[in-house]
Subunit: 362 residues, 3 copies
């Protein structure tokens, strides 16, 4: 039995298998509509995210299964102080698989270690959101016909955008991929992604500040929102904001078979006038998210049936004497949960929190 | 493919067809319980309305379909500022039909223009609530055996009660219908309904202030609540309030086969003691609402299957240079939505907002 | 047609029958997974209780039925002031059975008197929570192999813990049961349970303050939480709190085949380190709750089918001239609901509120 906490829990072969299943579902939906008969998905949304929740629920229903759960923490026992571990154990009594959205980094990981059914991370704080990346991958594959040999522009807030980091990690494992990182200086890709992923794997990338200049070379443009509250100086935001809004005019600079992605919801970072452009793939991307979630639910339920035992947590060599500096990490609030750090970079001696992946401090 | 935004979207023939389907469902429920197998209804309730939501959900479940959605805005992406248009596009990926309740006038209309599945207006602000009117019509038809040749008393708040306006519009299309408008002077039927519907179509009506006096001539009594906050002078409210409360004593003045309707929930405008009177039809009315929603879902899904293309919005001759004076109208908050007005009265030169139907101003 | 409001609504024979059904469901789940096809459960949760709600929903889904409802009052028409009676009548139009959680004592009883489908009390204020007791009974039966000849320790807050009172009432009807009441003086079992149940039926019991001392003689240990806010003097709480926390060390004092129950959620009254002890039955108890709810739903739906008429409320000899002193009682807020008291102790002349069971005052 396995869970999906980070996109890196899946090998490239597994990603390709999920994409193949999703495409088969698209081609023959009626072949899958009883696949999960008598199975139940629990959607545990400790913070609201309608789009993601409805996507999971639609996925399960289209597989013939049923759904139960909650859509915000105030409806949950969490208000009474129940730990994530206890909730995971209890919900394992009621469902065959669960999808968890949580404001704390690492919460789905704690759930997966305690549940007796598979856990899917549906977004944990600033940390991971692997099923969004699955949606992105199927979209690129369907729009471009391939996942290799692509120039991918990532535009907007590259500093805090977890979907961007996750997509870089996932796409870096395919051949011939180049990245163009388009952002204001204030919102550049953080060093840990640049060094640990791009440089370590030798992936070519450039960093630019102008979307207009980058536009012409892109096969894929991944848009994110530039939020006012990320800037110390409002004047800088006011000067910059329009250059990261995708308009019909900017689309004229792009290749004819380029495609535009966006994790949605958008506010104003893509003009409504772009929606009718055939290259605007972001609503198809939402649909693809449903199909990938269907493929994922099928895969995890099949694995759980074949091997009902939870994968052993490898805690060989963990340290428990460091402190996690991330105030949003589940380790600070979960009852009787000891801090734990794993060695992620032997040469540099970097120990990262097993829950939220931040570097531990003495 | 069609949506239902206003009761006037349906012809008299279509209303009769829906009523006939509902009666067949009542007679043979088992014939319908797999009709919507593999179909999904999304219930998007941007403000809570348990009764209406549960009625839609029960309707879909009794047709063998399934349901997903949300019951208040705080659980929805609207909190993150997603536009109605985007929500409609996204939810079209997850469901085969959607029912929308929204505090803004015109929101379901905007959704219908952007969705790729049928949209049902489940109540928009002060504007429309067509499925309530469907429930009313089936109730009158079942209780009285006909929809024509009836004297219908409308009692209470006729000024703000959208269900009252909608019922007048719908019933005015049947033969031999007379209205008795029973309300305090402060809450009389507004001019635009009186002139545009009753007078224009030559429907006989009287306006009275005493429920007791009107009681004896009515075939149907439609009760609504008189709310304290509608009165400028609390003393006027205090003097009037009891005369618009239906009691056992008042029921003694009524015909033996009269029937009492109420859109529910009631607070105290009908005494609980009236519930056991066989003429009290308001709980049967709630049941009828479910059956009409079943008939409506069947009709719209069938039309969408036969013709998946969205009906073209006729924007020939719309004006975009007026201003909508209605602060609750969706046109003031929806992203990149231009104001639009259609000519509704050529002689008087009246242009009405296409979203909320208020008269546009220069 | 019957409802379940209090555990005492069920005879010992009926409890044994429910336990037998639940064990058969556990043995042959596939035999039951279409039992409630085309049936609908409404979960009306006027206050949040995720665990209980999900347990009911999972139960209905595993019987092949479907579920609709709400998870907190803000999503419900109650916000508009609808009475419990009206809600029960309306929801009877939408569902075949309903489970109600409500902050007011007596609310499910009012619902049961007005609904035309069976009502299950899923917890009403400080009053009853009979399906928790059903879970407790199945757990004791499965863990110990019997419900008779047991020494049952009840530990913690015995004053306010409704699950404790309910379990005492239920277990007192079995042979050879002894109770050990373990609590601080401030939270002792109230007189009305001690006198009306234990002493009246001649059930042996002891009252002690030390969990350590009692541990060795128990077959069953039922833990509850000792809450700070129950103490007038915080210093007393601080001095006592640790002695009512179950730890690995305390477990060493217990019999080898003892079992630990807890209604959950727990906060810190049982150390996480106890979870791995084979005698820790509280997560299995949650699973058992689902199976008992399945058995209960089956039973009530079967009875409703055989006899659709609501059981007549016996109001012979009720008094209406007393006052209910319980501010949480539904009788103070429900529209047009007269106070009502039934004679529960002829000799002592005790009249109790029919809604909340508190003693009426002149």
């Amino acid at each position: 039995m396995r869970s999906l906490i980070s996109i890196l829990d899946l090998s490239v072969e597994e990603l390709d298998e999920l994409i193949a299943t999703a495409k088969d579902i698209i081609a023959r939906p009626e072949a899958y509509r009883e696949s999960c008969r008598y199975k139940k998905l629990a959607t545990l949304f400790f913070e609201p995210s309608t789009r993601t929740r409805l996507s999971f629920e639609a996925a399960m229903l289209e597989l013939g299964g049923s759904v139960l759960g909650f859509s915000e923490a105030s409806s949950s026992s969490a208000a009474k102080g129940e730990s994530m571990a206890d909730t995971a154990k209890i919900v394992s009594c009621y469902a065959d698989i669960m999808a968890i959205r949580h404001p704390k980094d690492g919460a789905p990981y704690v759930a997966a270690r305690n549940a007796s059914v598979p856990v899917i991370n549906a977004g944990d704080g600033q940390h991971n959101h692997p099923t969004q990346t699955l949606a992105d991958l199927l979209t690129i594959s369907r729009e471009m016909g391939r996942l290799s040999n692509l120039t991918i522009g990532l535009c907007g807030d590259l500093k805090y955008g977890r979907t961007v980091h996750s997509l870089i990690e996932a796409m870096s494992r395919y051949e011939g991929v180049k990245f163009v990182l388009i952002s204001p200086a204030e919102l550049k890709l953080p060093g840990f992604v640049r060094y640990n992923v791009l440089e370590k794997l030798g992936i070519p990338y450039t960093e630019v500040t102008s979307l207009d200049d980058a536009m012409g070379q892109l096969d894929v443009l991944y848009m994110t929102r530039v939020q006012r509250e990320r800037f110390d100086d409002p004047a800088v935001y006011e000067r910059l904001k329009d250059s990261y809004i995708l308009t019909k005019e900017k689309m004229e600079l792009a290749k004819e078979n380029m495609c535009v992605l966006h994790p949605l919801p958008r506010v104003n970072e893509i003009s409504v006038a772009v929606d009718d452009d055939p290259r605007a793939a972001y609503f198809r991307q939402a649909l693809n998210g449903k199909f990938m979630r269907m493929a994922l639910i099928l895969k995890l339920l099949k694995e759980a049936e074949e091997n009902p035992r939870r994968e052993k947590v490898e805690d060989g060599g963990w340290r428990h004497d460091l402190r996690c500096p991330n105030s949003r990490c589940i380790c600070h609030t979960e009852q009787e949960l000891p801090p734990a750090f794993r060695l992620t970079d032997r040469e540099a001696g970097i120990w990262r929190c097993v829950y939220c992946e931040q570097v531990g401090v003495e």
